[in-house]
């Protein structure tokens, strides 16, 4: 790749009921493999992807939490959630499966500005 464009992936979907959550992580991993800096922002229901203690065995589907915990192996460690979205779902950082940067809603605009491309899922 020529210049390493940075990517912000905005996740608004909860896992399991829709394929979007999984699809976004597949894209994140691929871009990271190509050494493109990737950040993930979880907004609204997207925050629910991060909930720890997921046990999807009865659904016979892959555990989304496992994919999230693998992200640092691909140098993806810039995960963001807003404090208001955590509050919306009554969650705190200790409820989450992975470390995240908790930001204020008004910081989202500058997150977008800091990245070359924004993908939404």
């Amino acid at each position: 790749m020529s210049d390493k464009k940075s990517i912000l992936i905005i996740n608004q979907s909860a896992p399991y009921a829709s394929s979007k959550a999984r699809e976004s992580l597949d894209v994140a991993l691929t871009c990271a493999i190509f050494e493109m800096p990737v950040s993930l922002l979880f907004m609204g229901d997207g925050v629910l992807q991060l909930l720890k203690g997921q046990q999807p065995e009865a659904l016979q589907t892959k555990k989304h939490e496992a994919m999230l915990t693998a992200l640092p192996m691909y140098d993806i460690d810039c995960l963001y959630v807003t404090s208001s979205d955590l509050k919306l779902h009554g969650l705190h950082s200790e409820d989450l499966a992975v470390p995240v940067n908790i930001v204020e809603q008004k910081q989202i605009a500058s997150l977008i500005q800091q990245h070359d491309t924004v993908l939404t899922f």
Binding site: G44, A109, I112
Partner: protein, 99 residues
């Protein structure tokens, strides 16, 4: 650095609208497309009227016309055609799609 936000759901998708609005910078633009075109109804202008003046508000003509909105577009919005849609994506540095 300006961003174009494309929004294609009606204002009934309140969380989508609030996520989009939370992401706006002052010089950004919003283009309502597909069902997003329903956002031009006066009943929904409270969503948009308090945005900074520098935020551009647009609706895609083909989508407004299809939905019977041509005579119902709030004065807040500029109606643009497909060519202008393409131009908007050129004028803004990135495009964020809310769907």
């Amino acid at each position: 650095m300006m961003t174009l936000h494309l929004l294609n759901k009606s204002p009934q998708s309140m969380s989508l609208y609030s996520n989009m609005l939370a992401s706006l910078s002052d010089n950004d633009s919003i283009l309502l497309i597909e069902d997003g075109a329903y956002g031009v109804l006066d009943a929904h202008c409270k969503i948009f009227k308090d945005l900074p003046d520098a935020v551009g508000l647009f609706v895609l003509k083909a989508d407004a016309e299809a939905r019977g909105l041509s005579e119902r577009v709030s004065a807040l919005f500029e109606v643009i055609d497909d060519n202008q849609f393409v131009e908007l994506t050129c004028q803004n540095e990135k495009v964020v799609s809310w769907y």
